[in-house]
């Protein structure tokens, strides 16, 4: 039988160490909503989302109440809109009207974000996909809860450099269109390489075409719990350190698995995957950077950071995999800058640069995430950053992403405030040398060879 110490340990994780279930994300396929008539399709999309998600928030609350574990977000991901809008949308404006219907549907069911305003263009773009991409700035400026992602490369297909070039311009335009709100439109836009079909985390969630009609994906969190466990592990060797992280990750993930199964049963929707990511928030003590400090770094960015992050990421996966029946999504440590107080402090202290962050993305999930850069950064430089991240993902057969926010009207040394889970942060300098000729070439970087790994 369970004992008082175990009960206290669990409750301490929840109350003092910010253990929570970060998101229950309901994936909904919109493939059966396709129509050549835009109005009809808008109606079908609205009806399907509202029908499938009508109990999502109430079931989430029930589970919170019964198990005493906070479930921070309830979200929805849908089939990439570029795939379903091809027949009905003849211009970027037509796609914007679909974004608006997603926004309305998600507000009707009181869910805080919907992901899937997306295009998968890792090899080439159809006209519809190009319309969607060109519509992103307006769509994000005129909606509140719609998140957008574009997959521009993969290990199997190489990198679509035409899309990379276009995305540099789209990010800058999105920043312009939301400049009155610190360019916050860009916080809802991710550019991926090797995007997973079942990611529950925003802004990059979408419901891939390989998925069932609807599924439940769950993202757990718990950087605070890992940090607390490591506070008692100073001076121990790496084997013991790794064992501590693994055990903690196991416990955290088991809670996620329980919530996922319960949500799946109560909603009558099959369980998809559990995402093992350590996702920080701006709250004190809920920081991946703090874990790196506990491992022995003065600040993230110091020599040794990449190794520390690599071991952290690997141990989280090893502990988590055993705790869940199906793992997927991004599953690793997130290193968003503005959402993690420890990362913000590291940037302020001058320890962490964009270049070091890029190195860190080679060994953890996602990539350059929630990085505020000067508003006068040229589109070609943003495209260059996307190309660099996509290359890391392509060569290393992992997911990488770029979510940078060129803050219009602000420069290095100033700070930006997005609010809530998106946090705040300093604007980081970007290497000022030009890559314009490189980006202007157009075409595709071919897929890499899978042998001779050196």
């Amino acid at each position: 039988m369970i004992n008082i110490f175990e009960v206290n340990e669990t409750n301490q994780m929840i109350e003092q160490e910010n253990l929570d279930v970060r998101t229950i994300t309901l994936g909904v396929s919109l493939l059966d909503c396709i129509d050549s008539d835009l109005e009809k399709m808008r109606e079908r999309v609205y009806e399907k989302i509202v029908d499938k998600a009508k109990n999502l928030v109430s079931v989430g609350r029930e589970i919170e109440m019964e198990y005493g574990i906070p479930i921070v977000n309830k979200r929805i991901s849908v089939t990439p809109i570029a795939l379903i809008g091809g027949n009905a949308c003849k211009s970027p404006e037509d796609f914007v009207s679909l974004a608006k219907v997603l926004d309305e549907a998600v507000k009707a069911v009181q869910v805080n974000f919907i992901g899937g305003y997306s295009a998968l263009v890792s090899k080439g773009m159809t006209p519809a996909e190009e319309y969607l991409i060109r519509s992103i700035p307006q769509a994000l400026a005129e909606t509140d809860r719609v998140c957008s992602s574009v997959n521009v490369g993969s290990t199997k297909t190489g990198i679509n450099m035409d899309a990379v070039k276009l995305m540099g311009e789209v990010i800058l335009d999105t920043a312009q269109k939301t400049k009155d709100r610190d360019s916050c439109g860009c916080t809802k836009l991710v550019v991926f390489c090797n995007a997973p079909d079942d990611n529950p985390f925003m802004a990059g969630a979408f419901h891939g075409v390989t998925e069932a009609d609807s599924i439940i994906n769950v993202g757990v969190s718990g950087p605070g719990v890992v940090k607390r466990a490591l506070e008692n592990a100073h001076g121990v060797d790496f084997e013991t350190l790794c064992e501590t992280i693994k055990r903690t990750a196991f416990k955290v993930t088991r809670v996620g698995q329980l919530v996922a199964q319960e949500a799946s049963r109560r909603l009558g929707v099959p369980f998809g995957i559990l995402d093992l990511s350590l996702a920080p928030t701006p709250a004190v003590g809920d920081s991946v950077a703090d874990i790196l400090r506990e491992i022995g770094l003065e600040h993230p960015g110091a020599p040794g950071t990449t190794a520390a992050l690599a071991l952290l990421n690997d141990q989280v996966k090893k502990g988590g995999v055993m705790a869940s029946s199906a793992v997927g999504g991004l599953s690793g440590a997130f290193i968003p800058v503005s959402e993690d107080q420890g990362m913000i402090d590291a940037v302020d202290a001058g320890a962490l640069t964009l270049e070091k962050l890029e190195a860190m993305t080679c060994v953890c999930s996602v990539g350059l995430d929630m990085v505020a850069i000067p508003g006068d950064t040229p589109a070609s430089a943003i495209s260059g950053m996307i190309a660099d991240e996509a290359a890391i993902g392509m060569i290393n057969q992992k997911t990488t992403a770029v979510r940078v926010i060129p803050v219009i009207g602000k420069g290095v040394g100033e700070t930006v405030e997005f609010g809530g889970l998106l946090g705040h942060g300093p604007i980081m300098p970007v290497n000022g040398f030009s890559c314009e000729e490189f980006v202007e070439r157009g075409g595709r970087i071919p897929a890499p060879i899978h042998s001779f790994k050196n």
């Binding site: 039988m1 369970i2 004992n3 008082i4 175990e6 009960v7 206290n8 340990e9 669990t10 409750n11 029930e62 109440m65 019964e66 198990y67 005493g68 574990i69 416990k251 088991r254 809670v255 698995q257 329980l258």
Partner: protein
């Protein structure tokens, strides 16, 4: 049987267990096991209970127990046992 873990934490005083047990008894909740410690004057109790005969669902029970806790100056939590067994047992 539906096992529910009730925890009571706070400054030690007279009548804590009496108040909690009266509530449980009034709501047809059977106590299967009690453990209790006092650390630096702080009362810390865990009860394993069976709530299957109670007419109230878990949401109502945990809200009412939290309310009772506020009345007597304690923090009372009521959680499905699964969250603990899943985390601590393979």
């Amino acid at each position: 049987m539906k096992k529910t873990i009730i925890t009571v934490v706070g400054q030690d005083k007279v009548g804590i267990i009496a108040k909690v047990c009266t509530y449980l008894s009034n709501n047809q909740i059977n106590i299967l096991d009690i453990s209790q410690t006092i650390v630096q004057g702080y009362f810390n109790m865990m009860m394993i209970t069976d709530t299957s005969k109670s007419s109230k669902d878990m949401g109502v029970l945990s809200q009412e127990l939290a309310g009772l806790g506020e009345e007597i100056g304690m923090v009372i939590r009521c959680q499905n046992e699964d969250i603990f067994t899943k985390m601590h047992r393979i």
